[in-house]
């Protein structure tokens, strides 16, 4: 993501200490993770102590302090998905991407995350890529879905 985009986001919230979470969330969505230098810039521009930015960024799971891939892949490991073959789906996704949950590949294409019940039990087992839900997934169809993302 371009540095200009991040700079624009920070500029928008300059001098507003209450908007730390908003600024961090926007940067997270644009950039997929929060580099330390960017958090320093946020702290300086919004006039909050860096340790507080760090505290917020490490507290919420939305924020990532490590680089993430372009596409965020979530596989549900909740009870319903598990009963409907979530574990097999996860194994297949792990095989395709070469990642374990929590990891990101070297060319930053995919990040894989496990989630315990992502809220769509009626279409279990499910796979979510960049916020788009793919329900009633089978390992075979998961391969087709992931092929669409480059």
């Amino acid at each position: 993501m371009s540095e200009q985009t991040i700079a624009d986001i920070i500029e928008k919230y300059r001098g507003r200490p209450g908007a730390v979470i908003h600024a961090l969330t926007e940067i997270q969505h644009a950039n997929h993770w929060l580099p330390r230098e960017v958090m320093h810039e946020v702290a300086d521009a919004l006039e909050v102590p860096f340790s507080q930015v760090m505290q917020i960024a490490s507290f919420y799971k939305t924020f990532s302090l490590t680089p993430k891939g372009k596409h965020e892949v979530h596989v549900c490991t909740g009870m319903t998905c598990h009963l409907r073959g979530g574990a097999r789906l996860m194994a297949k996704v792990e095989e395709i991407t070469g990642l374990k949950p929590g990891e990101t590949d070297t060319d930053a294409k995919f990040s894989l995350e496990a989630g315990s019940c992502l809220g769509s039990c009626s279409i279990a087992p499910e796979l979510i890529v960049d916020g788009k839900h793919y329900g009633r997934m089978t390992p075979e169809r998961a391969a087709d879905v992931l092929k669409q993302y480059e």
Binding site: P49, F50, S51, Q52, M54, Q55, S58, F59, Y60
Partner: protein, 238 residues
């Protein structure tokens, strides 16, 4: 009434106390010499209510409640009991839980003796930090440096020195070491230093300095024991 401070009268362990409105029960008790144990309270810092050790039994209008005295404001006719069977039981449990993290912290050992707490009741999880937040709040409120803060959440929450700030501020302060009940603040700082900006250390004293009592904390290692090529002498940060 305007201009005068409203006085509140309450009873603490059978003793009458008259204090200004807005005072906490803990401060009122301290004023009349009733001791209530605390871990996270510090007179220079805002009341925090983190450790829950200062829990007391309060009776007001016929109702009995259990509240943390460091946050509970006084009210007229309040009856406070700082040592009841139930209060002691809760304090004992808190001490036992904290001792799973910091079994040898002097303050906890003393409290465990007083309350008959069993230091081995819970499986040990040596985190050494009891999350009192004293270092974090002291650095923020008194020193206003914010070199140390909480990171992460839930069971993974811990204190963390921010290397960028700690490298500049901590060496000449180190005041949080003394208020930490477990010495963990010191350990966390030294670990951060070792990882992020190593090189600062107490200076070795020359034999002459040692004799004069200057810089005498660390005796110089006799050169025969040190195999250090003169060219690769590590640079000392100032």
């Amino acid at each position: 009434m305007s201009g005068t401070i409203v006085q509140i009268t309450l009873q603490i362990d059978g003793k009458e106390a008259t204090v200004a409105a807005g005072t906490t029960v803990l401060k009122a008790a301290q004023q009349i010499g009733v001791a209530i144990p605390t871990l996270c309270h510090h007179e220079k810092l805002e009341d925090y209510g983190g450790c829950r050790l200062c829990l007391v039994e309060v009776e007001s209008r016929g109702r009995t409640n259990y509240v943390v005295s460091c946050l509970y404001p006084v009210e007229n006719g309040l009856v406070v009991r700082t040592r009841s069977e139930k209060v002691d039981k809760v304090r004992r449990l808190i001490i036992e839980e904290l001792m799973a993290h910091a079994p040898d912290a002097p303050e906890l050992v003393r409290l465990a003796y007083e309350y008959g707490a069993d230091r081995n009741r819970f499986e040990k999880e040596a985190a050494f930090c009891v999350m009192c937040g004293l270092c974090v709040r002291y650095c923020d409120e008194v020193k206003q440096k914010r070199a140390v803060g909480f990171i992460d959440n839930g069971h993974a929450r811990e204190i963390s020195f921010i290397p960028e700030i700690a490298a500049k501020e901590c060496w000449n302060c180190q005041e949080c070491f003394a208020i930490c009940p477990t010495s963990y603040a010191q350990a966390a700082y030294l670990l951060t230093e070792a990882l992020a900006f190593p090189g600062r250390r107490k200076k070795e004293s020359t034999p002459r300095e040692a004799e004069e009592g200057r810089m005498a904390n660390i005796p110089a290692v006799p050169m025969t024991f040190v195999r250090r090529p003169p060219a690769a002498k590590p640079e000392m940060a100032n």
